[in-house]
Symmetry: D2
Subunit: 135 residues, 4 copies
């Protein structure tokens, strides 16, 4: 389920359209965003670039923060840490975001990105931990 | 100045072509990568997405690590932290990467990304700190 | 339950004795370390200093990595990120560490620190995410 | 040179007294804090514990933020990332903090910690990057 104002907010992210990304879920502090792994997002060895993994994981956390806020609210990323734990190989990436600590001044969030192989098996490729600020 | 094998490595990064990014410098532990700010890389408020800032800053650090290694060597990002300190507004982003601590097992790096406005003025928008692993 | 070699390893950490810290659990990738909040570990406002929170959370992750390794193995922290989400107030801190991704070259870990109030209620005060290297 | 209110703030940090730490400089956005390496702050291999390195580096950044604020102001650490780049061996640690981006809502800071050997030679052992919030 996705709140209409979040769907509209997502549609304004040009980079998500460039990545062919989809906001699959966004409610109750939980968000899922997916995007295909294609040559257009590769790094030098053919895996998806850490920039894609980061962008999806970061956005999933931003929308997780927004699900806990009033309609029309917005956030910016203050800082984000990513640990890359396996190569981003397969047919698509799926990023999950959640709120660890909501707040009026700052929102602390956590994320996880998995890669789905051609045969449908899934493997975690990154974990993230960051801070969002309401604007 | 750019070592030919690094230029060739950069050319294999599909996401850099998608971003219209250019490897401007890569020698002696110092790297510069730039990319235009366009609607195709925007976030919801029209600024460049943190995913672009991250991708350029991360890649600049990866090539900085490679300038200190033998030809044909390659690295992967182990982890990366980014602090976003100003909106990514203007006509282009320019990312700088440097090696803080070279090593056979791990390379510690640091990065900085600036935005260049339409009138040519520059402003730091992000600092990064991370770890690369030779592969 | 605690493996004897880990208990012995912990006993060699002078800073843990200085903090009056106790290794409460260390098995199967899960570790718990606690320490009292006293004036000897305070910051300027009387809360426990972030240095204590970090030290306990970092050590809990190090021992979590060791529970997944052979007896006599040891690790060093490569890097660690901490988000402080509430003041470290109360009578004691309790840190939890877990392994996210084991590995021969690197181990990715995650941690959480809670404060226990005088009345026994518990509150999360920090989350951590880091990398350990076998030595 | 040290502003009297910062010296007084530092004196209220119980953990700094426990560590035998000294605020050596604190003015104009630059701070230096040192502490001896003793068995009371060791990790299991006899080096200084990452918790000491973190505590000194974090505090140096907090006071760096305060040098740019009005007398009597205070900050808390929102988040901090540390990369440990060499063992903390020698007779003392010396931490440096600086402000990267001042701000009314958040202050972005950077730090560095060096170890001084018995013969006086110095070696960088850690770099840090974090966020402080005025309280």
């Amino acid at each position: 389920m996705i709140r209409p104002d979040l769907q509209e907010n997502f549609a304004r992210q040009g980079i998500m359209a460039t990545f062919g990304a989809t906001l699959e879920e966004a409610s109750g502090g939980r968000v899922v965003i997916s995007a295909p792994i294609t040559p257009a997002v590769s790094q030098q060895q053919g895996f998806a670039h850490a920039g894609l993994t980061f962008a999806l994981g970061d956005s999933a956390q931003g929308y997780a923060a927004l699900t806990a806020m009033a309609e029309g609210a917005d956030v910016l990323t203050v800082e984000m840490k990513i640990n890359l734990i396996a190569p981003a190989a397969g047919r698509l990436l799926r990023a999950y975001g959640e709120v660890v600590k909501p707040g009026r001044r700052l929102v602390v969030t956590r994320g996880r990105v998995e890669a789905e192989a051609e045969d449908g098996t899934r493997r975690d490729i990154a974990i993230l931990q960051g801070t969002m600020i309401p604007v």
